[in-house]
């Protein structure tokens, strides 16, 4: 550092040379064409029945694989392995990247990766949201009008896939990466390069999915059921590659989190003192590590069916679409708890701070999180209640699905009892947490209808189930995602967010979220089928209402975006070290957290929830580096 400081300053564009995002994109595009023409050289213009069709699935796969590899080479992910092979000693040099360019390149500082995730995921969240707006535009009329039918299906698929793929890392990516090392008193994650890799693979995946529109899109929605998957346009290959890449990213992210929490806790941080957020991350990570590989496997089978014309899912040649449905939901149901569990954890982490009371029933809360992640493995066939698969197992899946409401109820009980007799302050993060109770209650209770086979026959595949999972995932994950943003972004960036705009954002989002999705329960009961712009005329009023609410919900998101840009780029009011009077350890560090987190490793003497139990114990030893780096 001192040598660099002594050297004359280089022009700003000098930083663009070297291994960074720009190089990654250039090499990624190059790798794409190498793969495309390489596959053409191997297989000719087409591997299908007739040689005169320039839609060669193999070329698309190899092109995108080449593109992703080129992207990672350009970012510098291969430098270190090559250096090690050439005999250089192990090091963590990438961590010392500094200046703004570190946000656009491979950086092994967990705090930089956290902020990269926040902006990267945010970008794709807004693209997914834009798709939702376009879907609702089409739904303004009861027949196909605004977009061609095939395009509408692509929009539905893009929205679902984008949200389910990207938002799986919505809380673990930005917040767990940033906070878990700090919360457990460590200076880094267990595998910092893998941590960076998970982010950049996710960004590459996002690029793969958005470019599906150049290959005709895909008609299957986010579930991608064959045989429709097998017969679909080449854009389907983008879906397969996207989800497989997301699966790789999820597996690595989960492994990294588990390793970090298991091995890198500071002295004194016993399992019963671990912040509940870390427990939530741990249970989610276990699900990620075990579920995502199933997804990768099933998508590989789908890709083989499409390129090499194997017959895993082709009933005519001895395969079965049930195989896909089974394997997909073996991943798919833990997946929805991968989305929901971090939300539980954020709510339980934030409630004590704003209710000024200890977390009530810590062990029960942990049991709830672990119980949900355990039970989520035994419920997947409730997605297939009417599919004709294993008819005799339906009573079992009905029971297991309803059993999962018991550990979910633990979270409710612990949260409600934490509020009880508290001294509640309605700050913006707290409002989002309270909204979680409201949304998840409706999401959960509507789930009772879907878990029961006789009433599921009415509601299966209708807008009812669509409203149900938007209540649980948008109401459960996205609301807590915003709670986490309002709570921790001042800590992460060092700048305060505007409270008044935050409250406007909350109330508009809460009202229009409910106004958008509550009527869809009724629409589903009245027989509106999912994933179609066509509905009967008597549902027009409901759908118009929902569409207008959805547009207002979109405006609410723009208010948030304005708040973010306005507060972080223009007002720049410095955040205090501990704006919420929290006892958690990250608020004992300055805002933003210095590069090496702690000068000396902290020693914990209790959990961070001792509100009303005397003055806050200061676990960070004196002598930590102060102020901005």
């Amino acid at each position: 550092m001192t040598a660099a400081a002594a050297a004359p300053p280089k022009p700003w564009w000098h930083q663009l040379l070297g291994f960074n995002l720009l190089t990654g994109v250039i090499l990624g595009v190059g790798g794409w064409y190498v793969g495309w023409f390489g596959a053409h050289a191997i297989a000719g213009p087409s591997v299908d029945y007739f040689g005169d069709i320039d839609y060669n699935e193999l070329s698309i796969y190899l092109a995108y694989i080449g593109g992703v590899v080129g992207f990672l080479v350009g970012l510098g992910f291969f430098n270190y392995p090559i250096a090690r092979m050439r005999g250089y000693p192990p090091s963590l040099r990438e961590k010392e990247t500094h200046g703004w360019i570190r946000y656009f390149s491979l950086c092994t500082d967990h705090k930089v990766v956290g902020i990269q995730y926040l902006w990267g995921i945010g970008l794709f969240f807004f693209i997914g949201g834009l798709n939702a707006m376009l879907i609702r535009t089409e739904q303004l009329s009861p027949h196909s009008q605004s977009f061609p039918m095939g395009t509408y299906l692509t929009l539905v698929g893009m929205h679902g896939t984008m949200m389910m793929g990207m938002m799986t890392s919505g809380i673990l990516g930005p917040f767990a990466n940033y906070l878990i090392p700090i919360m457990i008193g460590a200076r880094r994650m267990a595998f910092p390069r893998i941590e960076a890799l998970t982010f950049w693979i996710l960004m590459a995946a996002g690029g793969v999915l958005t470019t599906t529109i150049f290959f005709g899109g895909f008609p299957t929605g986010w579930t991608g059921y064959p045989p429709l998957q097998t017969e679909a346009s080449p854009g389907m290959d983008n879906y397969i590659l996207f989800f497989a890449l997301v699966g790789v990213s999820m597996t690595l992210l989960g492994l990294n989190m588990i390793a970090t929490i298991l091995t890198m806790r500071a002295p004194g941080l016993t399992w019963t003192r671990l912040p509940i957020f870390a427990w939530g991350v741990l249970s989610t990570s276990v699900l990620m590590v075990l579920a995502a590989p199933v997804l990768i496997a099933v998508l590989c089978m789908g890709a083989l069916d499409r390129t090499a014309q194997t017959s895993f899912f082709n009933a005519a040649a001895g395969g079965s679409n049930y195989l896909y449905e089974n394997l997909f939901w073996v991943f798919g149901h833990p997946e929805v708890y991968i989305l929901a569990l971090p939300g539980f954890a954020i709510v339980l982490e934030l409630l004590p701070v704003f209710a000024r009371k200890p977390l009530w029933g810590y062990r029960l809360a942990v049991a709830g999180l672990l119980g949900v992640s355990l039970l989520s493995w035994f419920v997947w066939q409730h997605h297939l209640f009417v599919s004709g698969i294993n008819g005799d197992l339906r009573p079992f899946y009905m029971l297991s699905t309803e059993l999962i409401s018991i550990p979910t109820g633990f979270t409710f009980l612990c949260g409600m009892m934490t509020l009880w007799r508290g001294n509640i302050r309605f700050s913006v993060p707290m409002l989002f947490c309270l909204a979680w109770f409201f949304n998840f209650l409706f999401g959960g209770l509507s789930g009772v209808f879907l878990s029961d086979v006789p009433s599921d026959v009415t509601t299966h595949g209708s807008f009812f189930s669509m409203a149900h999972f938007h209540y649980t995932i948008m109401g459960g994950l996205v609301f807590t995602f915003f709670a986490a943003i309002y709570y921790w972004v001042p800590k992460m960036t060092g700048w305060q967010l505007n409270e008044r705009l935050g409250k406007i954002h909350f109330w508009t989002m809460f009202i229009f979220f409910n106004s958008t999705f509550a009527p869809l329960f009724a629409a589903g009961f009245l027989g509106q089928s999912r994933r179609t712009p066509v509905y009967t005329g008597n549902l027009k009023f409901l759908n118009d209402w929902v569409s207008i609410s959805a547009f207002l919900l979109g405006i609410s998101m723009l208010i948030f975006l304005f708040n973010l840009v306005w507060s972080l780029a223009f007002v720049k009011k410095p955040a205090e070290a501990n704006p919420w009077a929290s006892r958690s350890i990250e608020f004992q560090l300055p805002s933003p957290v210095p590069v090496h987190n702690f000068d000396r490793i902290p020693v914990f003497s209790g959990d961070p929830y001792g509100y009303g139990e005397g003055p806050t114990p200061h676990w960070v030893p004196a002598g930590q580096p102060a102020g901005r780096e």
Partner: protein, 295 residues
């Protein structure tokens, strides 16, 4: 705000908040549950067009009756709690009482939720095993109603459902016509991708899978019409894959059947024999011959 919260606790609050919440909850539930069950319950679809539809309405009404007290509990708790336990705006940060646990409440909560869950699962299983509740049960149904059943084959194809009547000489129609007051055994299959046969008013939903025979049972009631639509994304015209079906009385059904036999006589030689008469299972799958230029 950032200053250390005052260690001083608020003066001990002797009000029995818990009792108030429980009393308010019991009163509200006692009023709301019967009102909702009586006035909202019967409005729930799918309606009264078939035995299965009636059972689903009954089932949905029970569910509503069970979730209403839960909704009431949360409503009372949050209404009361957020009004009583909040700090005055702008006041200094004061910690609440450090209550960390109460095993009695935990045990009570676990017992209540477990009982409800087990009851719901038992109730659902009982309802399901009576006659399958109109859902697709796969090729080997476990909930088979007793008595005579008329077989109808539902064939999903991109993008139309057609219906074959093995008992009427294997005629096929693109409109589902069923006799009134009859138990119908639907065999749902698909020729290409996954569809889902949803006869909305009859309360029937069964996925149509290629190569699989998915059986569902429904007992029609009086004459009327019903909607059929596809409930599983099956490609471009998924949304347009709907039609009306009819339930007609037995005399009308006989005349419709004899008329249809005449109408479709010309293509009868090309139809497969029904499975019950030694023909191949209908779920055979078409593959385009690779040596012929498809088109």
């Amino acid at each position: 705000m950032a200053s250390e919260p005052t260690a001083a606790r608020p003066p001990h609050d002797s009000t029995n908040h818990g009792l108030r919440v429980i009393v308010a909850w019991l009163v509200l539930s006692a009023i709301a549950t019967p009102l909702i069950v009586i006035f909202v319950g019967h409005l729930i679809p799918p309606g009264d067009a078939s035995t299965q539809g009636t059972e689903q309405v009954f089932d949905n009404t029970w569910m509503l009756g069970i979730i209403t007290p839960i909704l009431c509990l949360l409503a009372v708790f949050f209404f009361y709690g957020l009004r009583s336990f909040h700090a005055a705006p702008g006041s200094a940060v004061v910690d609440g009482p450090p209550l960390r646990n109460d095993s009695r409440i935990q045990i009570l909560w676990i017992v209540i939720t477990s009982t409800m869950v087990l009851f719901l699962a038992g109730f659902g299983t009982y309802e399901l095993l009576q006659n399958g509740a109109g859902g697709g049960q796969g090729p080997n149904p476990i909930a088979v109603p007793a008595g005579h059943k008329m077989q109808v084959q539902v064939i999903g194809q991109q993008w139309q459902f057609t219906y074959r009547y093995p008992s009427l000489g294997n005629i096929e129609s693109n409109q589902l016509v069923l006799p009134a007051d009859t138990y119908v055994e639907l065999h749902v299959t698909s020729l290409d991708v996954v569809h889902s046969f949803w006869a909305y008013e009859l309360g029937v939903k069964a996925d149509a899978n290629p190569g699989t025979d998915n059986v569902a049972f429904v007992r029609t009631k009086g004459p009327g019409t019903f909607h059929v639509r596809c409930a599983e994304l099956c490609g471009l015209w998924h949304g347009y894959m709907f039609n009306n079906g009819r339930v007609v009385d037995s005399a009308q059904f006989q005349s419709w059947a004899s008329q249809a036999k005449k109408t479709y006589a010309s293509i009868k030689p090309f139809m497969d024999k029904p499975e019950s008469q030694g023909g191949a299972p209908f779920s055979h799958i078409y593959l385009p011959a690779p040596d012929r230029r498809a088109g």
